[in-house]
Symmetry: C2
Subunit: 368 residues, 2 copies
């Protein structure tokens, strides 16, 4: 059956187990603890007061697609026609749309290992064959054309900044990959959900390199709106018509109140405050964890640290010990990697500095 | 490619074209014009004030699943464990989940023609083969075991009350179908999204017949919350674990504010007011359209009338004329049927009585 290889989020069990401990410290949660800008909150209330309870069009409110287009102008000086944007129920919806549109049954989707778990599970659901590309520190956890050489691939999924490693695709690599994809008839999908949370190095969007790339983004991370369930996908013009037709059928429309709220999400001073908050936390947590684990280079974006814990044993057993003995919840690497999952633990810095200090202190005392 | 056979909602073009006319009368809109109960609106605002901006668990808030369970107790005196309920992003999400869970690539999904367009398009996306069962007035547009006899079928999708015909599956037929499915190893999925809008005859839920049935429901129609994008699916216990794992991966979670709002949706006096409003409108519109078209029996539920317009010509051309010459928007049957789509038009009674009278008067004068 299509779902035989489906894997659950191990972190969900951790979350559930952690709820037993009132003093638990949560390094496992993949969502910001900061609220959205007050402007979003106000707009959400107003949408309710104005009675916006009906469906919007399947591709999302025209004003919101314009606002997203303007965001690309502001951030990258790029002109993206609102027609190329489809607003989706979370970026989850954007992946479903992008994979179904581009990749046929039996075709191959290349994804990085380690990487976000759902990529492969979307593939299984859609009858697409995931092809795992093991990436390591030597390429800053990025997929390079050398990784792809000689392999039959239909679609390439990259992530920048990446979950769980926080690494960013540099412009030159993006150019090389784009060229390789073009030459080999590969569709390039770039997950840029964490692009608003970049701390070091220049972030490049796939859209700056090529209009053929499919870019996935959303309001859940850097805009601090996870529960609103709103994402978007930017498509090459040739895919737009089919994308809208598919969205009508499989989503009907994205959530309405959230869309009106999201019109106010592009509050750049607030977004910069969010970014700086996470940057400070990254620096703190990196400093705190460095004496304990092998961390490699500082992650450049997102809100995770991917820690090599090999010297202490198997990651899943270690995560269990952290939780049961120190009431510290972390995500074992098996949620992100088939190859090295038992060597790594992911720490999310989605809690305040005080809690991070307390959590790491507990782990340190446990590890002796 | 998987989407080669995908068909768009023709009604979307109608909606777009209708926006040109300020005085347009809308019989094409498949969503209630009534707001949700004031309790829902209040709860939505409170959810925002309380800062419920994070993800919920993938299967939805535990309180909401309890409330839905209680709803089955209230409506049908059925005990449905909250564990068997998964809250989804719209009932659209429930279909995706149900089809992906039950029906493998290359397997066959039987659906009624006429029927809701998205069933077949979900099937195409998932590599499932839709098998169209032409149904007519002789069975009140219901699929019977006689329709299925001798055909290889893996999953049977029925709808009660049905869109576009408003017909309801009687208890005896449900029992026969359930028995047939059991004997032939067929999964039964029952779309009961309009079950709160039943006017004549006793409505039976598939869950009253068998715990093996998969039932799809949602807050978009009888609860008047379409833009909140919330549905649910009731699953047999053996499918629950996989369903949660799949929901984690493909949805992450349903919208949060909407879930808190939906906790207050089971306001039965208000829901009865909604039901009565639509019943009165059905009676009015049926009376108004009867002299013009062949309507068959009065629809028992939902908010549509499926009118045979053959004597005036092709439905799609007629719909075009109605819009351009009388500024009346309707949905041509091609959105629901490959076999008889050009013989029927669907009228939705999601507008007030005055507008319905004006709209039908315009059509009548056009038809001479």
């Amino acid at each position: 059956m299509r779902l035989d290889n489906l894997t659950p989020f191990y972190v969900m069990q951790i979350l559930k187990d952690a709820s037993k401990y009132k003093d638990a410290i949560h390094f496992e949660v993949g969502q910001p603890d900061l609220p959205p800008t007050p402007k979003v909150i106000k707009a959400a209330k107003e949408a309710i007061e104005r009675g916006h309870f009906g469906y919007t069009s399947a591709e999302g409110l025209e004003e919101l697609r314009h606002a997203i287009g303007k965001h690309y102008k502001y951030r990258y000086d790029l002109s993206i026609a609102p027609e190329r944007i489809v607003v989706t129920p979370g970026s989850s919806g954007a992946f479903l749309l992008a994979y179904a549109l581009t990749t046929d049954i039996g075709q191959k989707l290349a994804i990085a290992d380690p990487g976000y778990l759902s990529y492969k599970n979307f593939a299984y659901m859609l009858g697409i064959e995931p092809l795992f590309i093991p990436v390591q520190e030597d390429t800053n956890y990025c997929i390079t054309p050398q990784h792809l050489q000689g392999r039959k691939i239909d679609t390439l999924q990259i992530s920048s900044p990446a979950n769980p490693t926080g690494s960013i695709y540099p412009k030159e690599l993006f150019q090389e990959l784009t060229e390789y994809c073009k030459k080999n008839g590969i569709t390039l999908i770039s997950d840029e959900l964490y692009s608003g949370l970049v701390y070091d190095g220049a972030f490049t969007s796939a859209l700056q390199i090529s209009d053929d790339a499919i870019v996935i983004e959303g309001f859940s991370k850097s805009f601090c709106m996870p529960g609103f369930r709103l994402g978007w996908v930017v498509l090459p013009p040739k895919l737009v018509k089919k994308a809208r037709e598919l969205a009508q059928n499989i989503f009907l429309a994205p959530p309405t109140i959230g869309q009106y709220a999201a019109l106010e999400a592009f509050d750049y001073p607030y977004l910069e405050h969010v970014r700086q908050t996470f940057q400070k936390r990254r620096d703190t947590l990196y400093g705190l964890l460095s004496p304990l684990f092998d961390l490699g280079a500082k992650p450049q974006g997102a809100f995770y640290i991917w820690a090599d814990v090999q010297k202490y044993g198997k990651a899943s057993e270690l995560a269990k010990r952290f939780l049961e003995e120190a009431h510290v919840a972390v995500t074992p690497g098996i949620d992100f990697s088939q190859s090295v999952g038992e060597d790594f633990i992911r720490f999310a810095y989605t809690i305040d500095e005080e809690k991070m200090r307390e959590g790491v202190a507990r782990i340190a005392s446990l590890l002796g």
